[in-house]
């Protein structure tokens, strides 16, 4: 009987999901830039920092997933 493991397939799905998530995180960064251009209230740097940290976290999780799974 042929043994079959589902985990390599799940790994591929996780990597695809995280790749799409990085695109979403990039959209968030771009949108925060546009929003802060539309409205300046003195909180722009913190928001930009937050969105970039979010993007870096997403990239970090993708690299981590490729390495450990």
């Amino acid at each position: 009987m042929i043994s079959f493991s589902i985990w390599p397939i799940i790994k591929i799905f996780i990597i695809i999901f995280l790749s799409i998530y990085i695109i979403f995180a990039l959209v968030v960064v771009r949108q925060v830039q546009l929003m802060t251009k539309t409205l300046e209230v003195g909180f722009e740097n913190q928001l930009k920092f937050l969105s970039i940290m979010h993007l870096m976290a997403a990239a970090g999780v993708l690299i981590f997933a490729i390495l450990i799974l």
Binding site: I10, V28, T38, E40, V41, G42, L50, H54, I68
Partner: protein, 210 residues
Amino acid sequence: MPDIFVAKTPEKYKRINYKDLPSEKHNPLSSIVFTPENLRFESMDREEKVILFLRKHFITNIPWIIMATFMFLIPAFVQNLSLFDSIPDNFMFAFILIWYLISTAYFLESFLTWFFNVYIVTDERVVDIDFYNLIYKEVSDANIDRIQDVTYNMGGVVRTVFNYGDVMIQTASEVPNFEFQAVPKPDKVAKVLQDLRIEEQQEAIEGRVR
């Protein structure tokens, strides 16, 4: 020789008695600011003066803050359940990280939607800036002298306790209705709009532009 034309200054508005409205140096997260300093928006004229800056009352964020907190706490409880024993440790760890990413996205989008959906009243017009989601924004405005009717309501226990409600503005411009949703002190907002309308009518009678 008497002055024929005297320019309207921001101080003129400061003299008006709006004691209850927080003003100028403000917390960027506050929901209502009277004559804010350092506030700019995209289509703002150089001579335009922002009289009132509004967004939804902070209390309206409580549902998504509770939800986000709950989402961040879930992995701490769930990973000990025997249901997930068959999942290898490295996959379990990756799932938890993905869950935290999704929770962060939910938090970010909810916060940005609240933070950037604002209403601005200047000395010349009313501006409504809406970000419906991450990829769609709408900016509409109407001149103060086009305002026909201002109505406000404050129904419900929470709204009465925290003093916030909706202000509906009917105009004769392209956008017939503006709705300032869940803004703090709707009565004061309506009063500011009424005073500005009177000011505009006065300007029209005197033949002033500003």
